[in-house]
């Protein structure tokens, strides 16, 4: 009775039932996105059932799901993002705190760009205190500030309805609000990590380690098995100004010096990836046991550090945090039209439908983990350079409207050992989110998109424009007016000429060319001009700056990982500049930027008739030069 009264009240003020219970995000969706809800209690007397409809349902709010949702919404799709935790980021969130790894491991120039780069640049700037929850906040802020995304936290998928080769709707339950969501969508993305959505739909998936014979992989096994890499539980510790004793629980495992022969304890401010277990168990369904076993290892290792006498420097150190959610490395892998293999990675196969790249080593972990400390916990094969990942590995072969990003993509176990890291997962998210929005606009499916070479090239150009790096794809966007402009500058350094801002490359690609305009600012502001013979209608000017992609830029609890990073704004980034749009000598429009921190900046206007764009560079954050990789202009 109370409930009905309340519902009437909410209806009276123009909101669907439950809107205020959730947060303004829900209210926004229901009112702005135009999708109605139908609260009913037909079969449940306790749970509320809410029916929703959207373009794109993203299941999983880890780095892949986050980027998939943002990419799709920025390309015009309505998105519902369900996440079974109260925070975004998955393994990178404050709940697990695994630092994001990726192609920086190559020691070259290949830090990932796109949405991930935007998030990381924002995080480094807004979180000088290196607080993990602030990293969660940066991601949350991006999502809730996007009018096209409905974010549903604490929401676990439990059922999927299909019809033929289509997924029709998913059912999910929110533990905090006792709501059941029944969500219809045109496209679904499995970013659950475990491939839960695909498995519930009955899509084909892979599990375990393949035999050599299956994909001709030298690292394959003689006989396939159902073993996976294990899960890890991390911890953080702080140094205090007095001794901090530690007493381990009785159930903590006991360790001796020789247990750490292959697992070095050089510092203990951040836990160890090798606190790993579960590869020999069912990595999903034995999760409760694996979690407890991992806690027994965490406290056992900490007990060893504190009380063995072998690390007396730890006397003033104490645990400040430990994880309760193990970080997973491997579970189901959804089968796509293509299965990426070890050979593709090592031979750096240049797929025609490449949409992302990876660069982490082939880093396989022994399944026994801490159950057998006499063995090295991993086998890592370094890569020569980045390798491409095809779109065919990112959609299901079983359902036309199911895509996937994250660790549950279509790869062999061996290939997974490199694709599984989160920076790579994030770029896969951007690829599928963009693909879905593109397919919706073009009335294609991802499979048809791959088959249509013209559209495929157009799609790759779209990804590149939105700063998703794709190997050996350069800007050939016919809509980019800058490519027809004449480029000059007030000054330029040798090898960094002005014309390079329209040479098609927006980053160092290790071909010996800088691909950027650089001008010394010590004598004052310098400008670069893009001039057309006749007036153009310009609605946006997009600029790509230098953010130091050769460096690592990822929040970590580990001192050695943070050591060579630049927190705050990146030093070579152009901080202060003015964008001026001219018609002849007449200044039509001017935008002053006082504190830029982003690599990719889009300046939007109401279609202006102009024949010159001038970027006046005034000051970099910590560099005497202005550095600009690319300028694009669009009608």
């Amino acid at each position: 009775m109370m409930k009905n009264n309340r519902r009437d009240f909410l209806k009276a003020i123009g909101l669907g039932s439950g809107a205020l219970l959730v947060d303004p995000v829900m209210a926004k969706t229901m009112t702005q996105s135009g999708y109605g809800t139908d609260a009913s209690k037909d079969k449940h007397t306790v749970f509320e059932t809410r029916r929703m409809e959207t373009d794109f349902l993203v299941a999983g709010g880890g780095m892949a799901g986050l980027c998939a949702a943002l990419a799709a919404s920025r390309n015009g799709s309505k998105v519902i993002l369900i996440q079974n935790r109260s925070r975004l980021g998955g393994n990178a969130s404050s709940e697990i705190r695994m630092h994001i790894c990726g192609s920086t491991a190559l020691g070259q120039v290949w830090r990932e760009t796109g949405i991930l780069e935007e998030v990381m640049l924002t995080e480094a700037y807004t979180n000088p205190q290196r607080c993990w929850e602030m990293f969660d906040f940066v991601m949350y802020d991006k999502v809730v500030s996007d009018p096209n995304i409905t974010l549903l936290f604490d929401t676990m998928l439990y059922d999927v309805k299909t019809s033929g080769r289509k997924i029709v709707e998913i059912h999910a339950y929110c533990s905090q609000t006792e709501e059941i969501y029944e969500i219809k969508a045109k496209y679904f993305s499995d970013c659950t990590g475990d491939g839960t959505l695909a498995a519930l739909a009955g899509a084909e998936f892979m599990r375990g380690r393949e035999a050599k014979s299956e994909y001709d992989e030298p690292l394959g096994l003689e006989t396939r098995d159902d073993i996976t890499m294990g899960n890890s539980l991390l911890f953080l510790s702080n140094k205090h100004d007095k001794p901090m004793p530690y007493k381990a629980p009785d159930w903590a495992r006991k360790y001796k010096f020789a247990d750490f022969k292959f697992r070095r304890i050089n510092s203990w401010e951040y836990g160890y990836w090798w606190i790993e277990l579960g590869g020999l168990e069912n990595i999903v369904h034995d999760g409760q046991k694996i979690r407890h076993d991992l806690m027994a290892v965490v406290f056992g290792v900490w007990d060893y550090i504190k009380n063995s006498g072998n690390h007396p420097e730890s006397a003033n150190w104490a645990l400040s945090w430990f994880g309760a959610i193990p970080g997973k490395r491997e579970s189901r892998r959804i089968t796509g039209d293509y299965v990426l293999t070890q050979n593709d990675v090592l031979k750096m196969e240049n797929f025609e439908d490449r949409v992302a790249y990876g660069g982490w080593p082939l880093d396989d972990h022994l399944p026994a983990g801490m159950d057998d400390t006499s063995l090295s916990p991993f086998r890592s094969i370094p890569l020569k350079g980045p390798y491409s990942i095809p779109l065919r590995s990112l959609y299901s072969k079983s359902f036309d409207n199911l895509v996937m990003a994250g660790r549950n993509i279509s790869v062999t176990h061996v290939a997974l050992s490199t694709t599984r890291v989160m920076a790579t997962c994030a770029t896969l998210g951007q690829a599928v989110g963009t693909a879905v929005a593109f397919c919706l606009k073009e009335n294609l499916t991802p499979k048809k998109l791959v088959e249509n070479k013209t559209k495929l090239a157009e799609f790759q150009q779209l990804l590149l424009r939105q700063d998703q790096a794709i190997l050996q794809v350069k800007n050939e966007d016919k809509l980019d007016l800058a490519r027809q402009a004449t480029v000059t500058a007030s000054s330029e350094l040798k090898g960094f000429e002005a014309k390079k801002v329209i040479d098609g490359f927006n980053r160092d690609v290790q071909d010996g060319d800088s691909h950027q305009w650089r001008a010394n600012l010590s004598a004052g502001p310098q400008y670069i001009d893009l001039v057309w013979d006749k007036a153009q209608t310009v609605s946006s000017v997009e600029v790509t700056f230098d953010s130091g992609l050769n460096r690592h830029l990822r929040l970590s609890g580990e001192a050695s990982v943070m050591k060579n990073q630049k927190r705050g704004p990146q030093p070579e980034m152009l901080k202060v500049y003015t964008l001026e749009l001219y018609q002849g000598s007449n200044l039509v429009k001017s935008q002053e930027i006082e504190e830029n921190i982003l690599r990719k900046v889009i300046h939007r206007f109401d279609g202006l008739n102009i024949d010159k764009v001038r970027l006046v560079a005034k000051q970099a954050h910590e560099d005497e030069n202005a550095r600009v990789f690319e300028v694009r202009c669009y009608a």
Partner: protein, 301 residues
Amino acid sequence: MQAQSWHDLQVQPEPLFNFTVNDTLEFAVSLVENPLDSNLYYATKLETNVCHDDICLPIQVNLFWDLLGNFHHFSKEKNIQFTKFDHQYFDQNDYKRLQTILTDSLSPLRDYQVEDLLDKQANKFSLEIDAVTRPTSPVFSNVTVPGALYTVYTLWHIVNGPIKQQLNAYLNAHYQQHSWAPYFAGSRNAAYQEYFLKHLTPQESSTNMEQIVALLFASDEYVPHYALEVLQQDFFGSPDKYNQVLQQADKLKPHVLTEMLSLISAPNTQSEKLLRDFSDGKKVSAEQKELINKILNDEKQ
């Protein structure tokens, strides 16, 4: 590089076995002793053409593995010169580099096919350090001797290939027959010491007590702990046995002593004096002091 002629070695008359590589190359593996230092190796005198892509590379080289099957070193006869591309000779640095590469069992040569290491496309990885392009990954900068990729690649796969497993299997099958336990225990090679400790029969544990105790003082970080594992059954309950170690407590690594103190019990008068003396000394740690107190007060540990 060790200038070690095959003729200077004491070679066992009968080869241990013949080994075949890729169905094309067969060679005999023998047990040899270097008379200069009495070290034992599995070795072969490889005299063959190694063909790859129709380019035949004459190789005359002596290859040596340790008794566990790990590649150890190579040598050549004085009149032999290794050649590179365009028939240039190896210089001394090339030989040193080859030795380093061949002993790196985790080299990228393990996982890449030789074709994938060649620079077939301009925009692909180059083995040469190119002053124009950006550096390649540091792990690939020393992957080969410039101009001798096929030779290096072929040799690496011969010495680090399946022969390692076969040599290791030979050791496991013939360790007792050769009575190698004293050689392994007395070696300064930590891997030999570990093998010795982990392949003791219970009976050998008591007959080899002296060598086992000596390994408590081994320079390797882990070997002393394996020795503790072997000794712990009855050794640490018998002061007559462990007092000799306590007398040299200051020579043990601190982490070894700490673990040993957590094992010993039933001290006699001499043990108590030794423990007190150490506890009053400068080297004792807080944990060791606490463990000694427990032993002296006969507290259950």
